[in-house]
């Protein structure tokens, strides 16, 4: 038995067997069915489906709006994480707990609530509409919804890194005459860079597959405000299973690329910590 190291503890066979069986039955086999369904299509048809103008427009929107949302979260997530870590103010603990709200809140609720707030007569929409800013049923609305649901991932990735910034180094830099911004750029930014990138990537990963909160605020117009997950649903509703599977595989591959990136970033982060410890 070189497969596992010997141990006095019992239950390996039972728990390992149950885990792999259940994982295969619920997750792996269904995903294999998806890949097989797409693979059973003739290549020409597969290419035609995944590169149709409507599909390409949906990728552009899904990936573009998700990248934009992740960028917004990179900036505002950093500001929020910094505020929570560095400053004491009334209600800080409450705000800190609320950061997880978009994660705990069902996406359908986020969707209808955000649409109501930013619609023409909504609390915020009514002030934006006269300025010519239309949020509901536009790309801007999609971006806002994606920003909301992926915000906790950015803030929670950055908080621990900001905690670790060595403030004595910062103080030393300032004592030696470094300006505040110079100290930020040379001391803080290098320390938190991996965390910033991880936050960005996690936000992007969460946003790109999102469906529930987006469909309420997007106009869902083909070629304009139709995200890829919605296009998949439309294919399914027309019983075009193969077309849906083909688009599903595109999204699946994208998820794997993002996952791989996250793992690389986290490995980089760990490596830096090991080096810093020596």
């Amino acid at each position: 038995m070189s497969f596992r190291k010997p141990s006095v503890l019992p239950g390996f066979g039972l728990t390992f067997g149950f885990t792999t069986f259940f994982l295969s039955a619920i997750v792996l086999l269904p995903l294999a069915a998806l890949v097989l369904a797409a693979a059973s299509m003739p290549w020409s048809e597969l290419i035609a489906v995944v590169t149709s103008p409507r599909a390409l427009a949906s990728y552009r929107l899904s990936f573009g709006a998700s990248a934009l949302a992740a960028t917004i979260n990179l900036v505002f997530g950093f500001i929020i994480a910094w505020t929570l870590v560095r400053y004491e103010f009334p209600g800080r603990k409450l705000i800190d707990a609320l950061i997880d709200m978009p994660f705990a809140l069902p996406t359908a609720v986020s969707g209808i609530a955000l649409t109501t707030v930013f619609a023409r007569h909504g609390w915020i929409g009514r002030y934006l509409e006269p300025l010519g800013i239309h949020v509901a049923y536009t790309t801007l609305g999609i971006t806002l919804a994606l920003t909301l649901i992926s915000m906790p991932f950015a803030v929670r990735s950055m908080q621990p890194a900001l905690l670790e910034v060595q403030r004595d180094l910062e103080d030393a830099a300032e004592t030696l005459g470094a300006g505040r911004f110079y100290a930020f750029r040379r001391i803080i930014l290098p320390t938190v860079l991996p965390a910033l990138l991880t936050g960005f990537t996690l936000s992007f990963a969460r946003a790109v597959g999102e469906y529930g909160s987006v469909i309420f605020i997007a106009g869902n117009l083909p070629m304009k405000t139709e995200i890829t997950p919605l296009l998949i649903v439309i294919h399914l509703e027309q019983f075009d299973y193969r077309g849906a599977a083909a688009l599903g595989v595109v999204m699946l591959l994208m998820s794997f690329v993002v996952l791989f990136t996250i793992n690389l970033l986290q490995a980089w982060n760990r490596q830096r910590h090991v080096r810093a410890a020596h």
Binding site: T19, V27, A33, R86, A108, V109, T116, L202, Y211, F256
Partner: protein
């Protein structure tokens, strides 16, 4: 690993030195501080607090009575019932799975462990629409087993089994992901001592391991429950949206909302919002208990 929410740090531990640090009382520092707090609060107020407040404001916009009456609607009641049934089936199953996976992964060293962990995380990285679609491809009318199921008069898709499967898929990693790092961190010493002293495996699990991991387990279970009750995309794909029959609460919200029944839609949404709030409260309590007990 996957798109899993990183754990927040314990904020209370680092404060306290701010007031005494040199350079903290300058004008520049005060302006930066004010700016950061203002930007943070404005961003959260617009994007998070306003939508949350809107849920309750719209639900109660026609008065408390209209709010309560909306729960008398039989379709709303059946949606609530279906959501409760779904969570009651899915959460215990995924809890047992999470415990089994954590025991196998944290207590033993074996080849391919990191691959197994990554595979368990997989559902977190996949679009909910895909999570639902895989079951349509398997069990739908034009799916792999569609004809066989139809011949035997079994409906999976557009029925309860499909909803359960899709929910199980999306909530699959929650308990396991919470327990694996916790049990790895706690180590095997106490379990090994118990076994060496003659305790059986089950006794060791219930008397030694379970008390140590109970807070982490509770946290995993409530997260799993929140996601199970709130899942929209995956369930939407498999449910078929049959009113009063295969509509869960999130799906029923969509229907009411699209029918311009805003009071009804936001009344159901208010229940799910309260559930999310409760989830966060339990999470905060669990974190506090962990900080106090060190595990």
């Amino acid at each position: 690993m996957a798109a899993r929410l990183p754990r927040p740090p314990a904020l209370a531990t680092l404060q306290g030195d701010a007031a005494t640090r040199p350079g903290q009382n300058t004008w520049g520092a005060a302006i930066v501080r004010g700016l950061f707090i203002t930007v943070s609060l404005t961003f959260l107020a617009a994007l998070l607090i306003a939508p949350l407040a809107t849920v309750f404001a719209t639900a109660l916009s026609h008065g408390l009575e209209a709010y309560l009456v909306s729960f008398a609607d039989p379709d709303t009641r059946s949606a609530i019932r279906l959501t409760l049934i779904t969570a009651a089936v899915v959460v215990p199953i995924n809890t047992v799975f999470g415990l089994a996976a954590a025991w196998a992964i944290a207590k033993f060293e074996f080849n391919g462990k990191s691959v197994l962990i990554t595979l368990i995380d997989l559902p977190l990285a996949i679009s909910p629409v895909i999570s639902g679609m895989v079951f349509v491809l398997l069990f739908g009318l034009h799916g792999w087993f569609g004809v066989w199921l139809q011949r035997h008069d079994i409906s999976v898709v557009f029925a309860l089994p499909g909803i359960l499967l899709a929910t199980m898929f999306v909530t699959f990693p929650y308990v396991a992901r919470e327990l694996i790092p916790l049990m790895q961190q706690l180590g095997n010493d106490e379990e090994e001592a118990a076994i060496t002293l003659g305790a059986g495996g089950w006794i060791t699990f219930f008397k030694v391991t379970l008390p140590k991991i109970r807070w982490g387990l509770l946290y995993g279970v409530i997260l799993c429950n929140a996601r199970a009750m709130g899942e929209f995309g995956a369930v939407s794909v498999v449910s078929g949206h049959i009113r009063g029959l295969t509509n869960t609460m999130p799906l029923h919200i969509e229907i009411l909302y699209n029918e311009y029944n805003f009071v009804g839609a936001f009344a159901v949404a208010s229940l799910l919002t309260m559930l999310a709030g409760l989830t966060l409260v339990v999470k905060t309590l669990v974190e506090r208990a962990r900080a106090a007990h060190g595990a």
